[in-house]
Amino acid sequence: MKRDYVILFVIFILTLFFRAMFVSETPYFNEDSAYYNLRHTDYISQNIQPMIYDDLSYGGRYVIDSHIFHLVLAGFRSFLPDFLVFKILPELLFALMIFIVYAIAKRLTENTTAPLLAALISGFIPVFVANTVNTISVYSIVLPLIFYQVYCLMNIDTHKGRFIVLSFLLPIIHPFTAILAISFVFYAILLSIESIKIKKAAREAVLFFVMLVLLMGFIVYKKAFIEFGLYAVLQNVPAALFSTYFQNINVFSLIYGIGIIPLILGALGIVFGIAWERSDSAFLLSGLVLADFLLLFLRLINFTTGMIFLGILLSILSAISISKAISYVKITKFARMKKYIFVSFIVLIILLLGIPSYTSTRKIMQLGVSGEEMQALEWIRDNAPEDSTVLGNIEEGNMIADIAKRKTVADNIFMFAPDRYDDVKLMLSTESLVKATQLMHKYGVGYVFVSQSTRRMYNMEDLKYVSEECFEPEFEREKAKVYKLVC
């Protein structure tokens, strides 16, 4: 047992090291949302209260956020250096998933090796690693807590208190928790279809959780539900952007993103768990898979988030298949070669999960914000008038607000924001100087920030309509430009 914990700890250190290796390469962050979280944490640190009205986003708007994550970060910041809080802490929280995966897998299989392998697999799911490394993401606390809540439900007799506390916390932290409520409903339905009697305590816990999530959801997002109806769950994402979320999805991206090992072993795990073992926990995890599929199918959750969630689930379910395989090998002549088989499996994990994780993370890191782009934003911060508005692409709005400290035309937090997606796209990609300047005047744009990401997004080298009489290049580097609107 002690040896298992040592191995588990080694896996945790390995995962954390893998993540930290990328983080230490750059002082910047990969995703725009990181700057949103950074800015709000900064605000709380300085003002000891969350930001209710944001002067910069969309030129000024109310913020719909519970700020729990920002409060947590601000709390840590009061006694830890920024590098540890913003760079290492999110990676540590994501790496902690290893322990939760292990605990659930252990509960699922009662085997010693399979849960360790499942934990190892979960640490190196390409889509998970690539999209969560070097970001300050609320999912760093949401995902571990969601899976811990699942664990608590599996052990409701001993974990009732923790289950109740988390039930109150989770819906406030992030609306993604709704996936858990839907999963629990699926779990109950699956068990009833199979005529398996759900444990009374679990049934009561599920009812309590679902009701609480509903109530909290309607209290926190009351205004959104009244204004948008059920579409509130889409968070007001512009239709044009929404359709691009699910554009480049195919079987290969699925296999590459999740990894062939968790995909096959996880799918087999569902079959073994439901059909053969008829295990209560397997039904619960299958309910989670179903809910994830349903929300992905209905496009109610972001594709990447859905895939990350699915990847973790499949890695947990892999434990069942691995456990079955181990038991089978034991009764065959291959039992003598079990060490070789084990080593081969580890090698396979490295080849099919470790390397893809590394390459896809490396790719995302390369596409991240560059030093020159940061210099451009710092130039705006130091030289542009304080009340000026900066135009950048929609995926850079939060970064502009955080680094340049200037008003933005739009960003990717769409709830209760005016729909400016098409206008931003037009201003950055049109060939018509008249159209672009008309819109820029409408939004009071003073500066245009052209980054590598904008160039890639609109497939261009520079703004197509730039003319000397209207745009003065104020900052010019290979990877970033800042234009001042003068006409």
Binding site: F208, M211, L230
Partner: protein
Amino acid sequence: MKGKKQKFTSLSASLGLALALVMALLLVMVFRSPDSMLPGTESYSLIRSAVDFGMNDNLSFGGRFAAYPIGARYVLSLMPEYIIPIMPFILGAISFILLMLLLKDFDIKPKRLALAALIASPAFIFMFNTLNTASFALMLSLLGFWLFSRKSFARFFSIIIFSLIPLFDLAIGILSLALLLFYALFRLKHRKPLMIASLAVSFAVSAAYYGYLILNSGFERLLFDLSPSGLNNMLSSFLSDLGAEYGIGLFALILAVFGIISFWELKYKNLFAFFSFTLLLVTGLFFSKAIFLLNIFIAIFAAYGFLSIYNAKWESAVFQRFVLLILACGLIFSTLSYCQRFIAGEPNEGIIQGMEYLKNLPKEVVFSDYSRGSWVSFAGKKNVMDENVWLAPNANERWKDSQDLFYTRDIEKARQIIDKYNIDYIWLDSAMIQKQWNGQEEGLLFLLKYSSSSFKIIYNKQGVQVWEVVSSN
């Protein structure tokens, strides 16, 4: 000692209920700004047509045959003007008492809980805080059912009552008759002849009155739909928590589901309740007025639901208490959230002041969105279109022309439509602008902004704009 204590508790519960009823019925009077009058639009068209009672309406659709249900208008026309504003309260109180008597007849055990759930429901609050035809019809419907179940001679009066309901509100009338059918088929089986007589007289009266209306106004199938379509819109007009003007509270619905589950084993004994509930639920998704009747069934089932959770044996008392608490909080939250929205609802002070201004203008015809039509005619001006589109003259043509005028940037085309309906003024308000147009220079907004030779702004206060059409001659 114990009996005395129980009696005291029961008395306090009844007093609490009465207090809650008074609060729910006086919501608008107490909390809404005295300058803002009643929320909604129907109150205004009813008050106007009651004051100016007759078979011709000179203001709606520029002048039309008054092809509306006559009941509420007639009753209101008989009342002194100072009684009209308190009519919703009177109707609410009578309906509540009738429902209480009916629940006693039906031997509903959690009677007080059901009544409390009803009082707290958004549909009840809306119904009895505004003047509307449905509140008259619902009160009559409850009276009809109560009379129908009497053993005395009074039961024969139910025939008259049921035949009157369609004259007050056709939708509630039809649904009440359907419920009466279920009632006599599944519950009071020995009253089938009375039910048949009630149905026959009701159909005869309805056919005579509505036939007369159709003969005089002509029938035109509407080629447009004022109620929004699609699943989200359907749910948004069904559930108050999703933004319905008057809808069912989500948590009341959840409790009702628990109630239905607890009753499921006795379904064959309660066929009336299950058939009525199903009919109203399905109809309520498509025709919002069915929600008023459905609301009563929801309240009763919700009370049973609450009781079933309370009485069930739970393994964990903590979860049980929490679930009950969450559901109670949900009910309260739904109610408070709705009340807040309802009290702040349109028309706001800006619109009321705009209506006052409109009243004093010399010319006659005002163009606006159909949803503003009732306010326009309440201000004594002719509208191009309002919400009473059923049996309205040239409704399809007027709808098309209105849409064309809203979205054209061609001044010639706009002029043609303006001349066709002799439009003198254009009414805009901020909510209407937000609903109708995406940009500030779209369609008619563009013309108003840039065609100063054709339009002149004469009023611009608190989000309301009145534009005068400058004569082309």
